[in-house]
């Protein structure tokens, strides 16, 4: 009985020693991830808030890209009741405000019927259109648009 217990204890001890010595066993700091070499309890410093680049709109990266917004929109109300973007970008307000008009495709419903107002499917502008910033890609990216690869 006694020798049995000793044997078990020795076996457990051996396994533990082997586990710590084995190459490739995981220890704190060994895990590499996008958040860097930080223990789980530690927090990264918050990244700088990217300032919106006002003025000239940036070029599209590819044909179907929703154009970027060259101004701040963080306090614009877009909900069931109102859409403040339309104050300048809906026809005929865009002529008065000298702002780009919402694309004609946004005045069509799913069946392709022409509407006199923005289609419900296009109501939430910021689902596709975002303000332009100087944010750089987080990971390397070799994307080229189709027409440039031609």
């Amino acid at each position: 009985m006694k020798t049995g217990l000793k044997l078990i204890a020795a076996a457990v001890g051996l396994v533990l020693v082997a586990a710590t010595l084995m190459p490739g066993s995981l220890r704190a700091g060994d895990v590499r991830s996008l958040r860097g070499e930080l223990a789980i309890e530690e927090n990264n410093a918050a990244p700088e808030v990217h300032a919106v680049r006002e003025g000239k709109p940036l070029d599209r990266a590819y044909r179907q890209q929703p154009p970027l917004i060259p101004h701040k929109v963080d306090r614009y109300e877009i909900d069931l009741k109102v859409n403040q973007c339309l104050r300048c970008h809906d026809w005929p307000n865009n002529t008065r405000e000298n702002a780009p008009k919402v694309s004609e495709t946004h005045y069509q419903d799913r069946q392709g019927n022409r509407l006199d107002q923005i289609a419900g499917t296009r109501w939430f502008c910021t689902q596709c259109h975002v303000p332009q910033t100087d944010a750089l890609p987080l990971v390397e990216n070799r994307f080229t648009p189709a027409n440039a690869a031609r």
Binding site: E54, G55, H71, R75, E77, D79, L80, K81, V82, Q84, L86, R87, D90, N93
Partner: protein, 212 residues
């Protein structure tokens, strides 16, 4: 002077009080009476203004859940509530005039709001949203009539340095000043949500002011 008697009848209490008030005092000195009057005046006038200022605080405004859960909740986090400089504009800064006469007029109007608080006219979010187009239009209209007076307690075209503004804001401010526009013409829904149909209501309001 003894109590006046008309046709031998003792006059009524009101008439006697009136007579006493207008009779010169034989007992107190003029200076003493003046002093008492001045002190009483300060206490009453100061007390009146103090009581009025008590109703001019953010805490008073949000003591009703109608204000706290709707407009105040929306105002929280807006540029007038929290910003890089820490300067705040609270409810009365925008909604109560600073000049005394206008302030009194607004405070008398506010008694109607107390009535509707008691009636529970907007005591749910649904009731409030239903009334919001009308309520918002009231505020916009009065702002338009006063040339956005409460905004201009802090913001002024004359002292606004447009060279420090982005081109988009600069163009619009310069153009707006030239055309005689007022703050509220464009700056709606900056501290609170807009009502349903706000853009149409805005155009209607602007048109109605063009005619006059």
């Amino acid at each position: 002077m003894t109590t006046e008697t008309i046709a031998g009848r003792r006059p009524g209490a009101l008439r006697r009080l009136w007579a006493t008030l207008w009779r010169p005092s034989a007992r107190y000195s003029l200076a003493g009476l003046l002093l008492v009057g001045v002190v009483a005046g300060i206490v009453f006038w100061g007390g009146f203004n103090w009581a009025m200022e008590m109703t001019n605080r953010e805490e008073f405004c949000v003591s009703c859940h109608e204000m706290k859960n709707n407009v105040y909740a929306e105002y929280t986090g807006s540029i007038h509530d929290s910003n890089r400089t820490g300067v705040r504009a609270t409810c009365p800064d925008c909604h109560v005039p600073k000049e005394w006469v206008h302030k009194i007029v607004r405070k008398i109007q506010a008694s109607n709001e107390v009535l509707h608080w008691a009636l529970g006219s907007i005591n749910t979010r649904e009731k409030f949203e239903e009334q919001r187009p009308r309520l918002a239009n009231n505020v916009w209209t009065s702002m338009k009539k006063t040339d956005s007076r409460e905004c201009r307690n802090c913001h002024n075209f004359q002292t606004m340095d447009v060279t420090q503004q982005r081109s988009r804001a600069r163009d619009r401010h310069l153009n707006g000043a030239l055309q005689g526009q007022t703050c509220i013409d464009c700056h709606k829904g900056i501290a609170h949500q807009l009502p349903a149909g706000a853009l149409e209501a805005e155009q209607k309001l602007n048109e109605s002011f063009k005619k006059h």
